[in-house]
Subunit: 364 residues, 4 copies
């Protein structure tokens, strides 16, 4: 952290300023130029608020944090891509529902005979809400056949109206488990409240939704477990805030964070949100965490899911999360953006050839 002082500040005042921080354990570094003096602070400046210091010290004209406020999520401190392991424990040679989200650039074999090559691409698919055993089994079998590598399904649903369907809750999770056993697909479901955690034992990836991205109490709690977390970017949050939320989880001890860009709220109204495709290469540059795209929520329009999926693959995403339903016209939520099973199958045809074109491999 560094501060540019006003011109002509007395040495006495500079000393008072720097001594305050020395007492707090920082090492001040004074650089006196011909006109202005710059004071740098060395130490754990993450606990300081740069704006407060500027506002509250008359001699300071301007302040700037030199390093990012996140560390665990930063590529600067962790140059290699993180591989997030998803799924059951390995017993002998048998691996059930084991998927890796992230790059595997080194080409090393990671888990059993399952992951290899230069990069792995995951496709999470399933309905917005689990509605019935029949529905989730039908969807799970179909998306598996089409090539999806994980199954998603909402059990606890955050809905903007208290009068909307709120999900099957624990029963929904049980139905997801049945579908997992039927298909071998690892399952992804959203947790909205830490009290639900026990119900999530069989869930392989815990999703934190956009509206909870800054629910810090929840982030702290899931930082205490080891299960992979799929963290969705908030509707109106910057990439820095997105990484700070990942940092919350990682600071608790859980480094298995998968980032998910799902569209920002902007002034455009024809689409439900605006997909920030630039987030993919930008996050790849500044963070080591895997990043996937949810084109269904980003667009909110079924016909845009395929072109946005193609764009995501080309931009370097590590995966996709796509809403699929066996009967979108009668879906209890988000039907307008869900693909039907045939549409998803068509999309997967495109996904496969494009993942291959990029020199990656689809999760198995």
């Amino acid at each position: 952290m560094m501060f540019v002082l006003h011109p002509g500040v007395s040495e006495k005042k500079i000393n008072e300023f720097t001594q305050k921080f020395e007492k707090m354990g920082f090492t001040p570094m004074i650089s006196s130029g011909t006109e202005r003096t710059v004071v740098g602070l060395v130490g754990n400046t993450k606990i300081l608020d740069v704006d407060d210091i500027v506002e509250n010290n008359d001699i300071v004209s301007y302040g700037k944090r030199i390093t990012e406020p996140y560390k665990l999520a930063s590529r600067a401190f962790h140059p290699d891509d993180t591989m997030v392991m998803v799924g059951e424990k390995i017993v002998g040679n048998k691996i059930a529902g084991n998927q890796t989200v992230g790059n595997n650039k080194g080409g090393n074999k990671i888990v059993g005979n399952q992951i290899f090559g230069e990069g792995i691409f995951q496709v999470i698919s399933g309905p917005c809400s689990v509605e019935s055993e029949d529905q989730i089994i039908k969807v799970a079998r179909a998306v598996k056949l089409s090539g999806a590598t994980l199954l998603r399904g909402g059990a606890y649903k955050p809905r903007s109206s208290p009068y909307s369907f709120q999900g099957l809750e624990m029963d929904g999770l049980k139905l997801l488990s049945i579908a997992k056993q039927e298909t071998g697909l690892p399952i992804v479901s959203e947790l909205t409240n830490i009290s639900q955690l026990d119900d999530f034992e069989d869930v392989d990836v815990i999703q934190i939704g956009a509206r909870n991205m800054q629910n810090y109490d929840l982030l702290k709690e899931i930082g205490k477990i080891k299960k992979p977390i799929l963290l969705k970017r908030g509707l109106c949050n910057t990439i820095e805030e997105f990484l700070m939320s990942a940092e919350y989880i990682m600071a608790g001890g859980n480094e298995n964070v998968i980032l998910c860009e799902r569209g920002m709220r902007t002034i455009e109204t024809m689409t439900r949100n605006t997909l920030d495709i630039s987030a993919v290469p930008l996050l790849k540059k500044i963070s080591h965490l895997p990043i996937i795209i949810d084109p269904s929520h980003a667009a909110g329009i079924r016909s845009l899911v395929a072109p946005l999926s193609k764009a995501a693959i080309a931009a370097g995403a590590d995966g996709l999360m796509i809403e699929t339903h066996n009967d979108p016209a009668n879906a209890l939520c988000d039907g307008a953006q869900s693909l039907d099973l045939a549409q998803f199958d068509n999309l997967m045809f495109e996904v496969k050839r494009r993942v291959e074109f990029e020199g990656k491999i689809l999760g198995t």
Copy 2:
């Protein structure tokens, strides 16, 4: 809810469409024009998603919800202003820490000898964080003397960095209780997690912060209690979403909701947020709930707090929430936007004459 069908749709298809909703308990209302047919649905359409229906029924060209998705929070269903009662039970003539947030247009005496006149204006003041007994007592006494009517103080702090000061937690609430006993000011503090609820027994108004405005699990839980809720608008949420979050609380049975506009995130970067002053008259028009303004968070700049407070009073707000600190230069959070005690006293001089000018009275 009404749907405009495509031109030339067959009667058979229209019947199939309407019968589907009849089975769900709605009364369809068909209006056939010379070119197009309009189908209206009568019933509890709050459970339907208009976009889903349009997307999933080929014969529909366009759909529109005729009524607002909120009902309990709507002035249409509750024409009179809501008065939210804050504070202790009345024992004889003695009332400790009793404040009403809202209008008192009828001029009736509401509680004991405390509230009367055409409107009441409340000023909630105090530090971002409770830091020590000395600090909170000092601030509480000073703001009371200046005319503040409630005391705020953060104990559980949602901070964007896991490395920032997170509040004194339960100890902070205990210090607030001491300050309440010392001054008689009712206290306002933010709840970030329902598991904290027991600690909030002595807190008079529970604040739900902007980042939790759509934490529906939390909203449901606080809907079960009767204590007044100060609900802050999310950084990037529309007024309709704001009222839907109020609706969540009210649908649970707690109608004591005070709305608080605290600035939106926009493209402007000189201010921390952009105060949406229009929200005051707009919410007054469409809702019956009291609405207050937090100019401290809206601006993030100390020198803007006074002019924004004046604007809020002129626009018709029912109160203000202002960050004050005995020593902003050393505040553990938000020092840049906190007034010191002399600045707050100066501001209250202006607030008092302006509240009077508007024909309202300051809470006592």
Copy 3:
């Protein structure tokens, strides 16, 4: 402008870097700390792009402009409030249509016997579009009677659809001149194209609309004249950009710039735009130019015009610009936000007592 270099950069590279700027006429100022070196540039750094320099010099870690990019519009270089004189030349004691927009804090008599006191408040009123002689005369007489101090009327209308009414053009300006002669009110009208300038001879204040705020060719041209310019903030422009557009006009030689905040485009959809009320105190702080508010365009809803006008006065604005129409139901544009003549008269009753409350005087 200052640059923080990466740690461990060689002296040779630092010299190459600074010599490049020395050749361009800047004085580099090197401040070597224990870990990092900071290079400051003294000179006319307005011509440099700080981002380009950071991106294009490998040794630079971070760059920052220390001074604002605007100078003529900055209060730092012009501490006193600017008074913009509007209207006809003074002939003897007779002044026709002469209004000042801005503060008159010194209390000096500025023009003839017209302007005095601590501050002056102007109310510009009239229809979105001039539609007929009958209409503009009727409106002009009524708003004058109610207390408006300038008359507005659109002749060249920028409309988002090529099929909408585009204004009466030159005929509209002629009708405004007639209304000016009838009432003595100075007139304000929007110029959309420099080729129209000759038609604007009798127009007292030239308005530059929000969509042309960054039409730099137009700004340069109106910088060459001396007539007051009412510059509206663009829908999605920051305050810094707003002042840069004022700087364009002032750099050309025309310092008679009146700023007008008219609402930003945000994610809120219930109001047409979001009035940035904070812009008033913020612009007062960093610039010396007068600032007025247009509540009609900001809200787009008739019933919000009065509360937003009150807020604007309380926040310290120097004036208001309000759309008024003798028959809003049949207005050719913007009827939804126009006040009728009785509503405007009611509003002016409030405006007058509030201007007085603020210790200002209404223009005469």
Copy 4:
């Protein structure tokens, strides 16, 4: 356009309402349901403002435009993709600088032996500003060699500061002409003022910049010529507004409009703007005009240009516009986002294989 009336409106009032529109030449269509009446208007409703009508007629509860406000730009009225022809007149078999932007799905040969196959992809490249003959010739030769199909270069530069380099103006256009003769590449340059039009005789595509997207006077003027127009989307404009601006040009008679998405202003600050990749498939769906992407301005960061270009191709764009400079470190503008010649050459290697993968062909 249709209006839902309030419940219980008298027949007399309905008749008064509909007769008003009959007099204006519309055919009202009344659909009386059991509870509410819906009035539709048939005719050229583009001249009506739906909000005004709702606000100004007490009996109306809600109004909605059924059709888009644009017609010429709409795919509904022009189902086939538009091919925009760029370049010189054909003389015998020789075509100099002739490029088509748009799809060629029919597979027909369009011009000479140059265009065929299912789709054509154009790459416009060159510096932000023309700086010297040496610079523009060097860049033009290099980008041509790498596979660019048109040359861009700014001569009249809209800069946010009056103190920044404003372009070489007419001299810049002359240098572009020389580069065109040297390389055969058609040239693209921005027009900021209709008075410059004569200077643009040799320019093949006239660019209208983002800040002029709603400069309607300029749009009307370029609607009178036949030269292709590259229309950039405004920083904060919706897709509907974008198409309305295209409609302005087309309504004047010039249907040769190429749309260009170049990033929106959002709350994200790490990137200069946020590329709205969804605009590509959405515009393809609702309009017949070609759409290209400018990843350089969208990101503002050199390292994001390649991944965004790949995403644009995958999403279905008809072309790219990429800033390239022979010496970005010393560019007079936008150096931070310009590729150097080697970087552009590398990018074109990727562009070519991806255009081929999509089954399109690169312009020749």
